[in-house]
């Protein structure tokens, strides 16, 4: 029940932001602002329902609601909404993409919904569990923002004056700088997540690094964004090429999160979601 409410609210947010974006292009500034605020209100409401569902699940099962893929996707919607509200709520364009992305995540969550209550196995009963997951999903959310900014950069590479402040929250747009800022935050978070995971692994599995497929893809993500930070300072490396590195980085993020389970090597792997 609450799932469909949350789903509809996020779909509505995407709609509000789409209208706000269209109005901003038409230079109807105050009307665009009104729709942008409606979109923000919807995101806040969706976030509220998501948090309530997580609390309910935590109370019902007695463990943090990060156990299954379904639960993790709901948490991803929460962190994405949070990072959007803190970093990009002035931009109707970003709101539109955030709303659509969350709806896509929730659609996947619906397909993979839990059919039964799942208990927490001994390996996940750890103080490291919550910080490891929280830090990672905050990082993923920030890297999503950087991904959208990079894609937008490919379409609007030049710094130019915009018809309305409502579009991206400023009069001129500079998606390159936006990507960089979001990557720095996301990079710090995935670095922290990787390290929290390594420390946890030492306590649970005996080694801080096991070359497990999920670990390796987390490392690949980290390496691609490290390359991004180096390419950015390389003379002659264009901003367009840099945007592509950031896009590849987010593809690695999504593969680390959702794709690794489909690798043949994942059958023997240590990390794996309970998938129905």
């Amino acid at each position: 029940m609450s799932f469909s409410v949350m789903y509809s609210i996020y779909a509505a947010s995407a709609l509000f932001f789409a209208v706000a974006t269209a109005l901003a292009f038409a230079r109807k500034d105050s009307l665009a602002a009104a729709f942008r605020w409606a979109g923000i209100a919807a995101i806040v409401a969706g976030l509220g329902v998501g948090v309530a569902m997580m609390v309910q699940s935590w109370v019902d099962t007695g463990h943090p609601p990060f156990r299954t893929l379904y639960q993790s996707l709901i948490f991803f919607s929460v962190t994405t909404a949070l990072v959007f509200l803190f970093t990009a709520h002035r931009a109707a364009l970003m709101g539109l993409f955030t709303g659509l992305f969350v709806v896509a995540c929730l659609s996947y969550a619906f397909i993979k919904r839990d059919v039964e209550l799942v208990q927490l196995p001994p390996a996940l009963q750890s103080a490291w569990f919550i910080p490891h997951v929280v830090v990672y999903f905050l990082g993923y959310a920030a890297l999503f923002i950087s991904f959208v900014a990079s894609v937008a950069y490919l379409f609007f590479p030049k710094k130019k004056k915009l018809p309305s402040m409502q579009l991206v929250g400023s009069e001129t747009l500079d998606f390159n700088a936006w990507t960089y800022k979001a990557v720095l935050f996301g990079y710090a978070m995935v670095s922290a997540g990787l390290i929290l995971g390594a420390l946890w692994a030492k306590f649970a599995w005996g080694d801080w690094w096991s070359w497990d497929p999920k670990e390796n893809w987390a490392l690949i993500t980290w390496l691609v964004y490290s390359a991004y930070l180096h390419f950015r300072l390389t003379k002659g490396f264009t901003a367009k090429a840099l945007a592509w590195v950031s896009i590849i980085g987010f593809v690695a993020v999504m593969f680390t999160y959702l794709g690794v389970n489909y690798l043949p090597a994942a059958q023997e792997a240590l990390h794996s979601y309970t998938m129905q």
Partner: protein
Amino acid sequence: MTEKIRSYLLSLAIAAGTAVAGLISESVGLPWLMAIVAGLLAAPGPTRRILTTFEFSSTLLLILTAAVAVGTLDYDLKFFTSLWFMSLMGLTAISSLLCLIFRYKAGKGVPYILVHSSVIVILIGGGMNFHGKQSGMLHLEEGQTSNEAQLFRDGKPTQEKISLPFSVRLDRFKVEFYDTSLELYVFRQGEDVPAATLAAEPGVEATVDGTHIRFLATREHPFVPTEGHPPIKMVLGEIEVDGQKGFVMEGRPVNAANNLGLVLHKKQGDVKSYQSTLTVLDDKGEEVRTQSVVVNDPLVYGGWWLYQSNWDPNNLKYSGIQVVNDPGLYIALAGLVLLVIGALGKIRFRKAAAPEEVTE
């Protein structure tokens, strides 16, 4: 050919050369590799300068990315412990070190120094882990004492043994399960995954394809399979489907309206915890410590970490205790902490910084 392309090609050649050298060292031995490292460090100015360029570091990062991706296609630790892969890691450490030595004046600040030195420290810790780590499994039954563990190599068990500098006695092994629960599954005809799962508790309800299902109560019913035989106690669930009362017997599917099927299922609880109470005895046979070990909470003694790692559902007196000694552990952990501090220090919360000036 422009200077830029030449620079990337040269970077690629150095990385490839190092990997090939590592491959050769695999058969020739470690001293060869040491010679390459010394050679790179003592290389004349121009070569050293290439190792500290952004072209080189970016190229190397992409090569590492590709290597890790290829290695992950097949879950085999040998790939990552091969000398050619280790050589690439070594090259990363050398390049980071040279950057720290020759580029620290570029004014990049503390985060830059922390992140790059952390890479070196982590790789040193990892190298020590690779060369000095011992790991194995102590197979113990309750009351048994042993200091001989089955050796593990590349994460896989071998026939060899390792001796611990102390003995371990398994005092007690205990497995706890979550409670058995009763659940009501609602199936659509032809589907093998339930459309809904209800906890079989009074008042729990769901609507599937417009059909409203409500669980009312559970009771035990003595069921006589054949006349004259003793009754079997079966669990019955009283339910309400679209306002009409009925019941489901455990394990027997029932047809409901709308092509729906209902099954009441008693679900065995999953394992909640494994717990071994271990006593460590020193070389004189004196008891030095008793501690209970569960998953996520190992016993640490004399540089060895002892983990709850294995059990045998057919022999509940057996416990498999993984033992690990990693001489590089604290170095690697220090490196990991440096990396987090450095990466957090790079975050810009307010205005995005203007691109830093490139000084080459």
